[in-house]
Amino acid sequence: MIKLESVHIEEMRGIRKLDTDFHKLTFAICGPNGSGKSGVIDAIEFGLTGQIGRLMGAGTKGLTIGEHAPHVDMVKFPDAALVRLGLYLTDIKQSATLTRKVKAPSKPTIEPATEDVLRILSEVAEHPEITLSRREILRFILVEPSARAEEIQSILKLDQIGQTRSTLGSANNKIQTAYRNAEAASTTAKEALQRHAQITSLRADELLEAVNKRRQTLQLEALDTLTPDTQLDSGLDAEKRLNGANKKTSLKDLESLLLETQTPDELAAAEASKAVSIIEQLQSNPALFAALQRLSFLERGLELADTPQCPLCDSSFDSVEALAAHLRAKLEKSKDAQRAQRTLSESGAAVGRAAVKLATLVNTALASCDAQGELALIPSFNIWRDDLESFRASLSSVDGIVAACTRLSQGWPSIPPTFHAELKAVTAKIHAKPDQTALFEAQTFLTIAQERLTAYREAMRRQKVAKAAADAAKVSYDTYCAVTDEELNNLYDEVQEDFSRFYRIVNGDDEGGFTAKLTPTEGKLGFDVNFYDRGLFPPAAYHSEGHQDGMGVCLYLALMKRLFGERFTFALLDDVVMSVDVDHRHAFCKLLKTEFPDTQFVITTHDRLWAEQMKAAGLVQGKSLLFFHSWSVDTGPMVESNTEIWDEIEGALEKGKVEVASAALRRHLEYVSRGLANDLAAPIPFRADGNYELGDLLPNVLGKFKKLLGEAANAAQSWGNAAQHQAVLARRDEFAVRMAATKVEEWAVNKAVHFNAWANFGKKDFQPVVAAYKELLESFRCKGCDTWLHITPRNNPEVLRCVCGAVSLTLRTKAK
């Protein structure tokens, strides 16, 4: 997507002002702890994403970009804190500038603000995972499988996939419940029609036979077929359509209600017992109960979350995604509570359907009593029916089901105590009434039959619609789950393959047969690695911390490759291999060079040796290596460089701070001497701790350079190249004069004193020292290309030269 061309940082974190050219190359920033290296990473990350990872996550409560991104002296002036990035957009092969201020982190200024540029930079802003620190490595390696799944799913932006899956699942459950309810309502309507028609099965011929018998009594034309448009009471005029007063039907309705209350619904009873059992378990496990009560709360919060503010407590998160991930993590933690919730909901729905059926029967009986003029039971029937409907409504939530525990265990129908006696009395009264005339019976039969047929047809229609929705919802959910599982399994297979290969590149010397296994299960990601062919174990079981660090980086690289593919062109690695030893770091350089040749890495390290190793391995070049030698609140990072150092020293001398100037000169000479010692293959006495001081380096560098110039003069003479010979002699003489001016050989007598003694100089005494060393160093540089002279080839030098070739002194004499 992007590469970094340049960075300009002002008043950000520990940096006052810093300008650096990155040249779209892999870049290393080296410096001791607290020198500002991570500040550069923070600034780049902020520039690209508007976030700073170090101010987020565990242990950062109370830290915000507004308060803690600006330099500590500029907190009240957030407008002064800004980052300007020069970027190269690889997709469109175009450069752009992005300026982001702390005052407005979500509103960067982009030039040119074309559609393509804005789209690409907007995409980059959605990927804070471009920054990897050691803290993040631990997220992949040393965490529980469920947490690892979340971390990797978060980095791969899979959480939205999980969210869609969960939402589809909830929708499917709702629709399946609605279908079952429609099915139950259809059965109830069918039974009501059957009961009225006094037929054993709802077959058209049986119903027509019963209907036509009454139609004949009324001298109405018989119905031949039963179609969707058939009206059973067709031919009856409005006067003769009499409601509800059919004695036989009324008796059947009351009998049906009596039977229902005397013969318990076994299925509903079993579900009620199941619910009670779950509730009792919850009540004996307060932690689980609390988790269950929070579930609905969290699910609701997740539904409502559409801004970075939590809808439940108003806490601010850095993004909507961060809030959603936080809520989902809490939900994930209670799988047991989710299982309990699912069982309770299913049992509650089953009991609810039985309650609906009973309430419908009560309603029908109510209508019959009313039609028969038996009004005494009506008030108690109404109360009971309302109670059943209210009970059914309460079963639609887990809290409602829990609150109904006592009723569920003691007989949820809650039949009024006098119900059976009263119902039998009313039934007897209706029995005792004179039989209705055949005409009256026929009229009421047809009227009620048509009503119940209409109700049944409507219930059937709703059931059909609900079934279509249920079938569509199920197939959609099942398909989404299958597709997601397949893609995730493929993803993890690929990541596991790349990860294993990367790790073998880094650790091929002792773990050439290394393999790893990523095992996704529901909500978890198991991660096991091969330990010397003894089997697969978690990384922390047997591998060292250094190896685990290496695993973290390799897994990160495998994930980034999977996420971005060829568009993985930029990443920030903040001191991520600190525990990896020297040999493996060299292999790490090889990994980055060979597997990610088109990716620009910005790597920080506190280890100078590692920085030089990166340069020696060709991962970084001289111009893509930045050394910070120290830091102060007032100055920010102090950069080691050949051009700015003289301004820094001059500035210190202007202020009369000789000790500061002398310290800067010493550091710079050490910095340059290290490079020259390498470039000229100067013989430096070995130190096991690698802490070479100026006295170890500079005298030997000077000696080697003098020797090389001698060799060059001899070589020129052997080849009969008089002009070259004279030029080399002049260079050698000039070098000797400059060396003498620095008096370095005098001071070498007492190494422990001579450089420190500079701090005791006055300004007028020290200025000539500065000028002398500045001039001395010019002997080692090409005036044209401004690079340091070096020998080549290293093992058997033939030439002393610069990069551009303007200085090229033959060292090999002509064979005699």
């Binding site: 939205q160 939402t167 499917n172 539904e303 959603a324 569509a472 597709v483 397949e486």
Partner: protein, 58 residues
């Protein structure tokens, strides 16, 4: 939208297009829900699955 999400969404919709239970109006609405980049809600899916074939009467 990230590549993997896009891949899953495309595969999901392709398979659903072959499912007789999902009619064209549902499919059109589902495409809108999963490809918009916005977070679909439960009610959105419930509404889509309850769409009648032939579309709603306007």
């Amino acid at each position: 939208m990230a590549t993997l999400q896009q891949k899953i969404a495309d595969s999901f919709l392709t398979k659903l297009a072959r499912a007789p239970e999902v009619h064209s109006e549902m499919l059109t609405e589902l495409k809108e829900l999963v490809l918009s980049g916005k977070k679909p809600k439960v009610e959105d899916f419930v509404r889509v699955f309850n769409l009648p074939a032939g579309g709603e009467i306007k």
